[in-house]
């Protein structure tokens, strides 16, 4: 099992969700995040004092999948989230040892879906 973490542009959340659904991945968790990468920040100024903002708004998705789904999932995210401009985001894939469904106590591959 894998845990896939994806950082995407906030406005892409809807289309990524749609793409994942099409790929048969319907479960995920989402949090609000700030990201700093190649994308240049912008300047804000408040009461005349300049401030460089380089933590930009991103959405963080966390998706646990069975191994055979991993690639599909990554592909779906990339396809839906890509605009080709800097700031599109990153995907990280990590090993997942175990998974439990709280409601039933099921574990492993059964629990994930």
């Amino acid at each position: 099992m894998k845990l896939i973490i994806a950082y995407i542009q906030p406005q892409k959340l809807e289309s990524v969700k749609q793409a994942l659904d099409d790929a048969g991945v319907a479960k995920m968790s989402v949090t609000n995040a700030l990201g700093c990468g190649q994308q240049k920040g912008y300047h804000e100024s408040y009461r005349g004092v300049d401030m460089e903002v380089n933590l930009l708004k991103k959405v963080r998705m966390e998706i646990a999948v069975n191994d055979e789904f991993a690639e599909k999932t990554v592909k779906a995210i990339i396809d839906a989230a890509r605009t080709g401009t800097i700031g599109d985001g990153k995907i990280f894939v990590m090993p997942l040892e175990e998974c439990y469904r709280i409601r039933t106590g099921e574990t492993g591959q059964d629990a994930i879906g």
């Binding site: 406005q11 912008y42 300047h43 804000e44």
Partner: protein, 456 residues
């Protein structure tokens, strides 16, 4: 006589209907002082409506555009007052014989008219020249504020401000002078009756709002594959604060439009205004509950405003019962209009400005022709409303007024928007719209530190 027909009618009405306002009492210093004080209190109440608009509009839009909306609303007050001082007042109340399409009393303000010695002689001794200016000036910005809500979340700041300057300095006062400045609408045999501005304020703003959103197009993501998507406003408390403050201000907007502290008329206006608003709430709630299954707060807030806009033209000539009917119909209309404009016409108006101010402004203007009943009220000697046996005369005048204002305002606003679009661009860039106008136009955020999803 500054107000031409308008003022004459009013004076006639008073003379007939109340023993309170006999010719020489009018000119008493105590009377002047009471009337003038009430007009000033009203001006302050109208002023606070700008805060109402600011919070309502920002509440019904997204957090990433809040600074921009507040900025527009603060600027508009400034634009409204300054342009009104420069030329608006002179355009709107040009004096002269009346019946005009366009006339001009001159630039700036007139110290001589404002001098204390002139106080009792000005406008029948009901209020001073300065009071006249400040009360009318507070109204001036309202039209542009209405537009601001409709074009929110995508319009370029500088272009919008320029539009506001032009529209408030020129179109608003010219159109207003047709009815309030003794112009051709007031001079008709059965004079056009728009008590406090269903037409001259609300629909003037509403037509420009309509033109604006048509030229601009919908916000990104509002229509997807031909289907309307909701873009929820970010703060219902702000929206509710806005509506309550607007109602509060409306006591001055309508109450002050009596142009004196006449006890019967001002209190009648308070009653009709409040009952129409209450009825608008009740019926919009029912409509929303039925149509949307669950009662939608934003619809009920609009319903309250709908009742207020609807009663603005007829507030002084209808019975409290008719006021309830007028407000109730407005409350139904506004919910259906929002749904129709958003989902059928596919015109994206984030705060429902066209439904509230345009549709209900027209409704209120027409309602005068249906319900006007001064004889029944004891405040005049004729019942001019169709439903009160007054025939269609008033109604026809009202329709002519609605049409003339529609044509003038929609066309002129459309042209101004198109020209400005060609010259300097009307809409912000896509990236800016996505990130929010607060950062794009102002380089700052509304809610620093707060975690907010900006997935829309």
């Amino acid at each position: 006589m500054k107000y031409g027909k308008w003022m004459l009618t009013l004076a006639a009405l008073m003379a007939v209907s109340t023993s309170v306002w006999a010719a020489d009492d009018t000119a008493s210093e105590e009377m002047l002082r009471v009337n003038n004080t009430w007009m000033l209190v009203s001006a302050a109440l109208v002023f606070i409506m700008h805060l109402g608009f600011a919070t309502l509009e920002s509440g019904l839009t997204r957090a990433k555009n809040t600074v921009n909306i507040l900025f527009k609303n603060v600027s508009i007050v400034s634009i409204g007052l300054l342009t009104y001082a420069i030329c608006g007042f002179g355009l709107m109340y040009p004096g002269g014989d009346g019946g005009h399409f366009l006339a001009f009393a001159g630039w700036g303000l007139d110290l001589a008219q404002g001098a204390p010695g002139n106080a009792l002689g000005y406008c029948g001794g009901n209020y001073t020249y300065w009071t006249d200016f400040i009360f009318q000036g507070m109204f001036a910005a309202t039209a542009a504020t209405i537009v601001s809500g409709a074009v929110a979340e995508r319009v370029k700041l500088s272009t919008f401000l320029l539009f506001s300057v032009i529209y408030v300095a020129i179109i608003y006062p010219i159109v207003g002078s047709w009815g309030w400045g003794g112009g051709w609408l007031a001079a008709r045999e059965v004079g056009f009756h728009d008590f406090a501005g269903s037409t001259f304020v609300h629909s003037v703003g509403g037509w420009a709002a309509l033109a604006g959103v048509i030229v601009l197009g919908p916000r990104l993501g509002k229509y997807f594959k031909g289907k309307s998507k909701p873009i929820p406003g970010h703060s219902m408390p702000l929206a509710a604060i806005g509506v309550f403050l607007l109602w509060f201000g409306w006591f001055g907007f309508n109450g002050g439009s009596v142009l004196s502290a006449d006890p019967t008329l001002v209190s009648l206006v308070f009653v009709t205004t409040s009952l129409a608003a209450a009825a608008g709430i009740a019926t919009s709630m029912a409509t929303s509950w039925i149509v949307q299954q669950k009662p939608d707060l934003s619809m009920v807030l609009n319903g309250c405003l709908a009742g207020l806009v609807g009663i603005t033209a007829p507030a002084d000539v209808v019975t409290p019962f008719a006021a309830i009917i007028i407000g109730a119909i407005a409350g139904v209309i506004v919910v259906l209009a929002v749904l129709f404009i958003d989902s059928k016409l596919k015109i994206d108006d984030p705060v429902g400005a066209t439904s509230v101010h345009l549709v209900c402004g027209v409704w209120g203007t027409i309602a005068v022709g249906l319900f006007s009943a001064q004889k029944t009220l004891g405040t005049g000697d004729q019942d001019l409303g169709l439903f009160y046996g007054g025939g269609a005369g008033q109604l026809i005048t009202q329709l002519i007024g609605v049409g003339a204002v529609a044509l003038t305002c929609f066309v002129s606003a459309f042209v101004i928007f198109k020209v400005l679009d060609a010259i300097m661009g009307l809409r912000v860039e896509e990236a800016e719209e996505l990130r929010g106008l607060d950062i794009g136009e102002h380089g700052m955020e509304s809610y620093a530190g707060f975690q907010i999803f900006t997935t829309q």
